[in-house]
């Protein structure tokens, strides 16, 4: 029965929706149930889901998607500054502008394929980053980042008192309801639920694209572009559409970043940020539906939780050990957490790629296969990932 459910889109959507909406409760025991990290999970989930539409389906590896994220952020903040503190116009404009940039950059870059395509996108993104950091400071406010000021015009809002905060339908993004649930501190935040709803919609669109003839065409591009060309099909419009869609997803994610935290900095366009979304997608599982979301969560969890563990916290964890032993263990473990969190991340990249080429999704599949092995145990039910 479960086998059927796995391929039932309605079931997938329901499960995904429930998981996302209950995020604050599910993640609370792992120390990740606070609004900022939840928002990041959702936002980078959207980013990675969009990236997967391009990379997972067509195989085109873009190393410049962070540029669209940055452009979306800047556009959203400018919308807060000039139009209104409402997040709706900000997000719409962010998506449109990044889509426009994606159209131009994609049109040029898709003239080449393979690593040449990757380097073209990388070059465009690095130019955006370098210029935004320095020469374009009047538009981007450079290193300090573009901020919302109370003195900005905001023609749709009229004069308002106090600190301007992004809001939707009168609810401010930073509003949080805090309570305890089974002894845990749980926080329900407007910003998170806003991002969560958009993540669910974005996930649904991605699911529809995966299942559509258009999605099939994209997969055909990855499998054998030359053969498609020989049959007289011009593949470039399809690839360009995929590029623009994923660029718009990135712009959406960037817009949401600005909505939950109205400050846009240039460094989110750097190549390392572009690389991060590649890592998220591959770690989660390229070409799978849920993989990119898992990968995004995985990396953000590391960045935000592991970097915060210091020797003090470690000593607390290891209270039960005798003093001398504890010091040694803390010293060893200390190399991998706190300031050493990069090391752990690098090691995990390697381990996952070496042993789980299909990413986390493959890992789950293997576990499931292991558990659901028939009792007789003559043969493991080898399973191919559904996507």
């Amino acid at each position: 029965m479960l086998e059927k459910l796995r391929n039932n889109d309605t079931a997938i959507m329901l499960a995904f929706t429930a998981m996302v909406l209950l995020g604050p409760i599910i993640l609370a025991p792992f120390g990740a149930g606070y609004p900022d990290l939840l928002q990041r999970f959702a936002i980078f989930g959207i980013f990675a889901v969009g990236f997967n539409i391009l990379f997972g389906l067509t195989g085109y590896l873009s190393f410049g998607h962070a540029a669209f994220l940055g452009i979306g952020s800047y556009m959203a903040v400018w919308s807060f500054k000039l139009l209104s503190m409402s997040v709706i116009p900000a997000i719409i404009l962010a998506v449109l502008l990044s889509g426009l940039f994606a159209l131009v950059i994609g049109y040029v870059s898709l003239r080449r394929s393979g690593i040449y395509f990757s380097i073209l996108t990388l070059a465009f993104a690095q130019m955006c980053y370098n210029l935004a950091y320095s020469v374009l400071t009047p538009i981007t406010n450079g290193e300090t980042g573009l901020k919302v000021l109370s003195s900005d015009p905001r023609i749709l809002d009229g004069a308002s008192e106090g600190l301007p905060l992004p809001s939707v339908l009168g609810l401010r993004m930073i509003d949080t309801w805090r309570g305890s649930f089974l002894g845990m501190d749980v926080q329900f935040n407007v910003g998170f639920y806003f991002c969560a709803v958009i993540l669910i919609i974005a996930f649904y669109i991605s699911l529809r694209i995966f299942r559509s003839p258009f999605g099939l065409m994209l997969r055909a591009i990855r499998t054998n572009q030359a053969r498609l060309n020989y049959t007289g099909i011009n593949t470039r419009p399809y690839a360009l559409t995929a590029f623009v869609i994923s660029g718009m997803y990135a712009g959406l994610a960037g817009g949401l970043m600005a909505c939950t935290d109205p400050l846009a900095g240039a460094e989110r366009m750097q190549w390392t940020a572009s690389g991060e979304v590649v890592l998220m997608t591959i770690l989660g599982g390229v070409g799978t539906l849920i993989g990119p979301v898992l990968g995004a969560g995985f990396i953000k969890y590391f960045e935000n939780i592991f970097s915060k563990i210091n020797d003090n916290v470690l000593s607390g964890f290891l209270d039960f050990l005798p003093e001398t032993l504890r010091e040694g263990v803390v010293w060893v473990m200390g190399a991998f957490v706190g300031e050493g969190w990069h090391l752990t991340l690098g090691l995990l990249f390697m381990i996952i790629v070496i042993f789980l080429p299909g990413g986390l999704v493959e890992g789950f599949n293997r576990i499931i296969a292991w558990f659901s092995r028939p009792k007789g145990g003559d043969k493991a039910t080898a399973r191919v990932p559904a996507e």
Partner: protein, 342 residues
């Protein structure tokens, strides 16, 4: 005119570094078909060979002073370098030339690092997609740089050039200009000569030795060479080690120019990939030519006269050139058809 000549000189030493890194990168790609994101880390490890050598040579005997105290009240330490203890004046000379001495350390060490890396990790990735190669080598690069960081810290560590090679040389006087107008640090010129020597040696090795011939044949058609009963894998492993040595030596000699820190590999990584792609994937002359070309163009773009016309051009020139080259010449300057296009 002076300014232009000077910027060409500047471009040469920058270009030397780009060319050396790109040479190794494209060597690995050409032989093994692997995209190695850890190549910048090899450059960085090379640089830290120099640091290690300097630290080894200046190892000090530490004794606690009976009388003197530090400002915070613990006994002061009296330090005497072992090397002068043991070798006297020769020790001082060794320390002076530590950058050059560390080449002796770097060559075998980088060879070992390269071979271990290839046998231990890279060989399992020949048949894997490029994206996975990138990810695993990127992970390795992070691990390597974090290990270096935990030993040496994040701060740059100064590596002075030997006194004799530290001065300036007057190019202007050589070329018949007024003396003192075109002066250039001696070490940078040494670096350029060194890079030219290494590049020449690698080409000669590939061109004029039997080993090199087999490797080139393997690059062109691995299977056929294998069918001829030649153990091409072993030779490719050696080539990986050689690429690591080239990157490492580039790093060792670069330390007096830019003080090494754990992140220098990442700083060069993107640039060196751009260089390789502009040169054409898998083309050794292309990588060298592109390295020098981009180095010189970057120097020109940094001139005030140019920056006044196009503000910020020095920050994006490399990428602009990369875009132009890839669009005009689909396979880079000297790339072969069909390489890395899928």
């Amino acid at each position: 005119m002076d300014a232009i000549l000077l910027q060409i000189l500047n471009g040469l030493d920058k270009g030397s570094a780009y060319a050396l890194i790109a040479l190794g990168l494209t060597l690995i790609f050409g032989t093994l078909g692997v995209v190695n994101f850890a190549h910048g880390a090899l450059f960085m490890i090379g640089a830290f060979c120099a640091v290690t050598m300097q630290k080894l040579l200046s190892l000090e005997k530490v004794a606690l002073s009976e009388t003197e105290k530090t400002p915070w009240g613990t006994p002061a330490e009296i330090r005497t370098p072992y090397i002068t203890d043991w070798f006297g004046d020769f020790g001082t000379v060794l320390l002076e030339y530590s950058v050059l001495v560390s080449i002796l350390l770097a060559v075998p060490l980088m060879m070992i690092v390269g071979v271990v890396m290839e046998r231990g990790l890279i060989k399992h990735f020949y048949k894997r997609p490029h994206a996975e190669q990138i990810l695993v080598t990127f992970g390795l690069a992070i691990v390597l740089q974090e290990i270096i960081k935990s030993w040496f810290g994040a701060n740059p560590i100064p590596q002075p050039a030997p006194d004799a090679l530290r001065g300036m040389m007057d190019f202007g006087a050589w070329m018949g200009f007024q003396a003192g107008t075109i002066v250039y640090p001696l070490w940078r010129f040494v670096y350029f000569l060194f890079a030219a020597g290494i590049i020449g040696a690698v080409f000669c090795f590939l061109q004029f030795t039997t080993f090199g011939m087999v490797v080139r044949a393997g690059m062109a058609d691995r299977e056929t060479v294998g069918l001829l009963g030649i153990d091409i894998d072993k030779r490719f492993t050696f080539m990986f080690g050689l690429a690591a040595v080239v990157a490492g030596l580039a790093g060792v000699m670069f330390t007096p120019i830019v003080s090494p820190d754990y992140h220098m590999g990442m700083d060069f990584l993107v640039l060196s990939f751009v260089v390789v792609v502009v040169g054409g994937m898998g083309s050794l002359p292309g990588a060298v030519a592109a390295g020098f070309l981009l180095g010189i163009l970057q120097s020109f773009a940094s001139m005030n006269e140019v920056k006044q016309i196009f503000p910020g051009i020095d920050q994006i020139i490399i990428y602009l050139v990369a875009i132009a080259v890839i669009l005009l010449r689909p396979r880079g300057l000297m790339g072969r058809k069909g390489v890395m296009e899928t």
